[in-house]
């Protein structure tokens, strides 16, 4: 029944994350929190991180949206725990490249479940859905770095 294109978009792993998102819920003591919306479709995420000594120790998110945005955020949070801020920024850069059709990145195992989203690149209008959580992540990490720099004269 399904066309190949659709099945490349709606992979089982994506639907599974959509129905059972990981790390969904609010953190008790986040060090940074970013609220982001996609105004065209109403998708939204509140991403919370706890960053201690340059390492992401806890991640949580709340919000709602389409399967692509919610699965992408869930997969992202799975990869983040224990990552340094620099590595997390690198993850965001690599995933953004994947969404812009860079197939070389698709072989990158460090992306974990996020590789299942490769097919989104073939649906240009949906790329912004997949990037919503990562846009929030980059903003959160930049805010963290800025406040750390401010704290150490």
């Amino acid at each position: 029944m399904e066309t190949p294109q659709l099945s490349s978009l709606y992979q089982q792993l994506i639907l599974e994350h959509y129905k059972h998102p990981r790390n969904k819920g609010a953190l008790d003591e986040p060090t940074v929190e970013i609220h982001m919306r996609n105004p065209t479709c109403g998708d939204e995420v509140k991403l919370q991180l706890r960053v201690d000594d340059g390492v992401v120790t806890e991640v949580g998110f709340t919000g709602q949206g389409c399967s692509i945005s919610q699965a992408s955020i869930s997969m992202m949070t799975q990869q983040l725990a224990g990552m340094s801020v620099d590595d997390a920024l690198e993850l965001a850069r690599r995933f953004t490249r994947l969404m812009h059709g860079d197939d070389e990145v698709a072989r990158d195992r460090s992306l974990g479940d996020l590789r299942a989203l490769q097919g989104v690149a073939r649906f240009p209008v949906r790329v912004k859905c997949a990037l919503l959580g990562f846009d929030a992540l980059q903003e959160a990490l930049n805010a963290t770095e800025a406040s750390t720099e401010g704290a150490t004269p």
Binding site: L9, C66, S67, I68, F123
Partner: protein, 412 residues
């Protein structure tokens, strides 16, 4: 001349864009509330204008300028007749509904609204009929009040006596809801407003003029705005009708060529209406295209267009109900609806619905439809919306429902 019978299958033949495949399957176009496709009559009028008559209007002495001016002013007369305007000079060409409403908010609102005044809007409205007035309220210090909607997307008018007071300076509402398809009792509201205040009444007719008979004189509103591209015309052209006295009392919206009478060092005087509000070279081809769209649509009985769309809405709601797990928004009574069917599907985001439908060749809209207050009212971030026009058929609805079956299979 008796109107042409509405045979949707025959009508389709006149719309080239409907005869194509997308993603390997024939297109089913159900996004008409966003914009409609264009018939050959409109495409030919645009082509002929540019090939033969193209010139600037109102100032040339030469033959082409005369033709362009005749075509432009001829289009204005057609639009005026189409909406029951008593005088063609009361029709201002705009870029669309949004510009018409902004024109009023600036040219009328800035001078006539002040702190302590009230502006009455409806939560049912499109952002284009909310944000210009919110900006006006911010500039002037006026207060905003809202007509609420019930569970079926209909205005709640029970407390109108509290909403409309002697401080109400403006009432701005839409004739037909773009997000829910509610056909509003505009005439009854206007009568009630007139009984209580001398507020200016502005109607957003973007979703009404293309689909049902509109007579601005009979409605007794003060101004009425709509867009050409939602009624078979080109994008970038629309019209604002306003009472002549209102247009004459207002200051200009934009300054420039075409809108002046005499320009001197210290100031200028304005051209007569409607030209006072049409600064710069207008969208001449757009107006010509809109005029052609009006002529083409005028061949049909508009009551029949509405009945056709309502019948498709009824059929779609029946088939969606069979499918189960679907919530349809808007009125249950068919006579209170237009050809808009907004819905959500349990467990599936509207955005995903739209992507899967697109892969099956079915074009719908998913999102908040520029009506975030409506989405907030019903506690949903977005809906999927199928919207019909005179060229849609029951087969189109069947294709929609079949594609929704695929959504079920994937998200099931």
């Amino acid at each position: 001349m008796s109107p042409r019978a509405l045979d949707a299958a025959a009508v389709r033949a006149e719309f080239p864009a409907l005869h194509q495949e997308v993603h390997g399957v024939p297109l089913v176009y159900l996004d008409n509330a966003a914009t409609t496709q264009k018939p050959v009559a409109v495409l030919d009028a645009l082509d002929a204008y540019y090939r033969r008559d193209n010139a600037n209007v109102h100032r040339g002495i030469h033959e082409l300028s005369r033709r362009a001016t005749d075509a432009y002013e001829g289009a204005r007369a057609k639009v005026a007749a189409w909406i029951g305007a008593p005088d063609a000079a009361e029709v201002v060409f705009t870029r669309g509904t949004t510009e018409g409403l902004n024109l009023l908010a600036w040219a009328w609102g800035t001078a006539r609204v002040s702190e302590g005044d009230e502006i009455l809007l409806s939560v049912q409205d499109h952002h284009s009929n909310l944000v210009p007035w919110q900006l006006l309220a911010r500039r002037t210090g006026a207060a905003l009040r809202y007509v609420e909607i019930d569970d079926e997307g209909r205005w709640i008018l029970d407390d109108l006596h509290e909403l409309v007071t002697e401080r109400t300076r403006l009432v701005a509402v839409s004739h037909v809801s773009n997000a829910l398809g509610t056909v509003n009792p505009v005439s009854a509201l206007i009568d009630a407003v007139r009984a209580r205040s001398d507020a200016l009444v502005v109607v957003d007719g973007a979703q009404a003029v293309p689909h049902l008979p509109v007579d601005v004189a009979a409605l007794d509103c003060d101004a009425y705005a709509f867009s050409g591209h939602k009624m078979c015309g080109p994008t970038g052209i629309g019209a604002l009708w306003a009472r002549r006295s209102l247009l004459e009392d207002m200051e200009p919206f934009q300054g420039g060529g075409e809108m002046i009478s005499v320009v001197e060092r210290e100031g200028s005087t304005w051209a007569s209406v409607p030209h006072k509000f049409e600064a710069g070279t207008p969208n001449i081809a757009g107006a010509v295209g809109l005029g052609a769209a009006v002529s083409w649509l005028a061949g049909f009985d508009r009551n029949e267009i509405l009945a056709h769309e309502q019948a498709l809405s009824a059929y779609a709601m029946e088939r969606l109900d069979e499918l189960g797990g679907i919530r349809v928004f808007g009125p249950t009574r068919l006579e209170e609806r237009s050809g808009v069917v907004s819905f959500t599907m349990e467990g599936t985001h509207p955005h995903d619905i739209a992507t899967i439908l697109d892969s099956r060749g079915v074009a719908i809209r998913a999102g908040h439809h520029c009506a975030q207050l409506v989405m907030q009212r019903y506690g949903t971030p977005a809906t999927a919306r199928a919207s019909f026009y005179l060229y849609n058929t029951r087969d189109d609805v069947d294709r929609l429902v079949e594609a929704l079956g695929t959504v079920r299979e994937i998200f099931g």
